[in-house]
Amino acid sequence: MSQILKFYLNGNPVQVAAGDADTLLDVLREGLGFTSPKCGCNHGDCGACTVILNGYSVKSCTVLALTAEGKNVCTVDGLADGDKLHPVQRAFHEYGAPQCGYCTPGMVMAAVSFLNRNPSPTEDEVKEALSGNLCRCGGYKKYVQAVMATARGEFGPLPEGSVGNV
């Protein structure tokens, strides 16, 4: 069976048919064509499907789509302001953090949600915050460096009231 699901995706209202047992990841990728969240393990382990739901990072493969009714969902697609990348995106770019890039959208969303909550973290806190996002290239060090650089303000202030922290 399926039902009509209405929610806000990157600030825009969307409507989509969602199967009763579909995950939010299924609906984002297959129903709406937003393929930035990746289906790595489909088991809540790898973090490649991380999106921000009502201001909190979640693994979208563990969220039943229909529970997102009326909520705000933000994917990496919604972070940039026109051509202006979000500071975390710029940091990942400048630091050359992504290698194959598969884990990157999830890594960005986990980092954005974390920095919204803890704008001046220690390195250990950053490592803990990204621990749920696996990078099989092993590029953890640069991700952590990039998040620390963002926190130091190297890439400008974190946008307030952006879709990421609704």
């Binding site: 069976m1 039902q3 199967g19 009763d20 047992a21 995950t23 489909n42 088991h43 809540g44 382990d45 973090g47 991380t50 739901l53 909190y56 990072s57 979640v58 693994k59 493969c61 563990t62 969220v63 039943l64 229909l66 529970t67 009714e69 986990a110 949600s113 974390f114 490592k127 803990e128 915050a129 621990s131 749920g132 996002n133």
Partner: protein
């Protein structure tokens, strides 16, 4: 493939109407971090097993996400997310043993979704929230169409994945009394964060002049359910607490456990490491009590 139907009841009345259906498998959904991967795996499995239709009943619209304090009793709503509890002032200041465990459970994004009630109802022997709650002698409240009943957590689990809750009963809250003692939770996993416990343990103890007056110790991931370590407790009551006494008493944890080999660890290792994890929990609890 079996069929699924999703409902998000806004009241307990409609919830219990949905829960008492014949010919369907009713599953309550809180955060979904355990249930959804299981459903997705089942849907991707070939050949499909013939199974009855699954009715997924979402509990998130029932307002079970508050922490309330009444006298000494702290009541935690079953649908509180682990993150919300970590940020909660009452939990932070009055339930350090639970806070310890929450901070080490999974990672941030799972904690943002997963609920404490879900962790209990999933009834994993490795559930990290359970040893702290057992050490605090928590009481669960189950609600069904015919009313509410309270069950001590120590009598709640009947096996891996199994509890005393009947199919039409919903866990609505967990209540604890923080007490005047010290408490602590320790976990040993394969890595520091986002890991499942090979062995975990929690301790609550009350001291007077360095003498242990009362103690509760629970150990997880080492038996079909999380268990209380009565032998360790009895060996410590009335004793002056120091490292040597605690280390020796903690060896008795092997009487309470019956670990298995699984993907996380071996039974051999668990038997050898459980006393150390228990001793760490007890010693930290004592340390905190002394301040």
């Amino acid at each position: 493939m079996r069929e699924y139907e999703y409902h998000a009841p806004q009241s307990f009345e409609s919830l219990f109407r949905l829960a008492s259906a014949d010919g369907v498998e009713v599953r309550f959904l809180a955060g979904g971090t355990d249930l959804m991967p299981r459903i997705s795996a089942e849907r991707n499995q070939i050949p499909y097993d013939k199974k009855p239709r699954m009715r997924i009943v979402y509990l998130g619209a029932l307002g079970l996400d508050n922490v309330t304090e009444e006298g000494e009793r702290i009541t935690i709503g079953a649908c509180c997310t682990l993150s919300s509890l970590l940020e909660n002032e009452v939990v932070k200041t009055k339930l350090p043993v639970l806070r310890d465990a929450l901070a080490e459970m999974a990672g941030v994004s799972i904690r943002n979704t997963a609920t404490i009630g879900g962790n209990i109802m999933n009834a994993s022997p490795a559930a990290d929230s359970v040893p702290p709650l057992l050490a605090l002698d928590a009481e669960c409240t189950l609600r069904s169409a015919s009313g509410e009943r309270r069950v001590f957590l120590s009598e709640y689990f009947t096996g891996p994945g199994k509890t005393v809750a009947k199919p039409d009963e919903v866990l609505v809250s967990i209540a604890v009394k923080p007490g005047r003692g010290g408490s602590s939770f320790k976990k040993l996993g394969r890595r520091k964060a986002e890991t499942l416990s090979m062995v975990n343990a929690a301790a609550y103890l009350e001291l007077r002049d360095g003498i242990c007056e009362s103690i509760r110790v629970a150990v997880g991931s080492a038996a079909p359910t999380v268990v209380r370590c009565i032998d360790v407790e009895q060996a410590l009551v009335g004793k002056k607490i120091n490292e040597e006494v605690v280390r020796e008493a903690s060896l008795l944890v092997t009487k309470a456990i019956s670990p298995i080999d699984d993907i996380r660890s071996s039974a051999w290792y668990r038997v050898r490491v459980a006393p150390t994890v228990v001793a760490r929990a007890v010693l930290t609890a004592a340390e905190r009590k002394r301040g």
